[in-house]
């Protein structure tokens, strides 16, 4: 199930991708670093969660994926369609890796790709949520990322952000509310925690 605001978030993200790609072509190393940062979780998650690659294989796929993106910067047909292109490239490299490991028979590749499809759809949705997260205040971004994506405890978060652990739960709830509103398009501006 997709979020109603997916289309809006995706359009904004596609436009930002196109801007980053243009700057990468102009030799802007910071833009390349930003592009890597933006998609590093997505690419790694496709390999680990979508195709269940080992840590070692996932690392190789990750490196190969970004190396190929860099090599093909000048030949991308549509910068606004970067994300689906990147997903397709990563999927293909994962299948190549499984094939080279003998884990994917020719007839089994379709089944493998189909099995990964649901998970990849979920990762696309997760990426849209992260795009929305980027619109929240730094405090909310930190708390939600630390708690949900980095699996940190209230105590660790409290120490890192110098907040009483007893207030973390309520802040998480408030920030999730802001994120929900952002996804629903109720609050176009940056939301403070």
């Amino acid at each position: 199930m997709g979020f109603p605001a997916d289309g809006e978030e995706r359009a904004r993200a596609s436009s930002e991708d196109a801007d980053l790609l243009g700057r990468c072509r102009d030799g802007d190393d910071a833009a390349w670093a930003a592009l890597v940062e933006r998609y590093s979780r997505y690419v790694y998650a496709i390999a680990v969660q979508g195709f269940r690659l080992s840590e070692h294989d996932a690392e190789d796929v990750f490196q190969d994926t970004f190396a190929r993106v860099y090599d093909r910067l000048d030949s991308l047909r549509d910068d606004t369609a970067f994300r689906p292109w990147l997903a397709q490239l990563t999927r293909r490299l994962c299948l190549d890796r499984l094939r080279s490991n003998g884990r994917a028979e020719p007839l089994g590749e379709v089944a493998l790709a189909e099995a990964a499809a649901d998970e990849l759809e979920r990762l696309d949705e997760a990426l849209a949520v992260r795009d929305a997260l980027a619109e929240l205040s730094e405090n909310c971004r930190e708390i939600l990322d630390r708690f949900f994506a980095r699996d940190e405890s209230y105590r660790t978060i409290g120490e890192a952000l110098q907040l009483p652990p007893g207030t973390i739960a309520s802040r998480i709830s408030r920030c999730l509310g802001s994120l929900r509103e952002r996804l629903e398009g109720r609050k176009p501006a940056v939301v403070e925690s």
């Binding site: 199930m1 979020f3 940062e37 790694y44 190396a67 708690f147 994506a149 980095r150 996804l183």
Partner: protein
């Protein structure tokens, strides 16, 4: 917590679906433009300096370190392709 598609549980699960990739991997990928420039410089140097080229063929990683370059995996693989022992 609500029962809509935007409930806290679902949002939390989606946020948790994208944990950070290993920091070293991300840093290496982010430095790719510099790594590629280093690679081209090394290839150029090998073309101009026969001694360095011989050292590369004998022990690629040591030669790189002596020349001040960290033997990053992608650089080593590409140099091995360009300068087969």
């Amino acid at each position: 917590m609500t029962t809509s598609g935007y409930d806290e549980e679902r949002l939390g699960a989606l946020l948790g679906a994208l944990p950070p990739a290993p920091a070293g991997l991300v840093a290496a990928a982010a430095e790719l433009p510099q790594t590629r420039r280093d690679l081209e410089r090394i290839v150029q140097l090998a073309g101009e300096d026969a001694e360095f080229r011989r050292a590369l063929l004998e022990d690629l990683e040591s030669a790189l370190r002596r020349a001040g370059y960290e033997p990053d995996r992608s650089i080593v693989e590409e140099l091995r392709r360009r300068f087969p022992a």
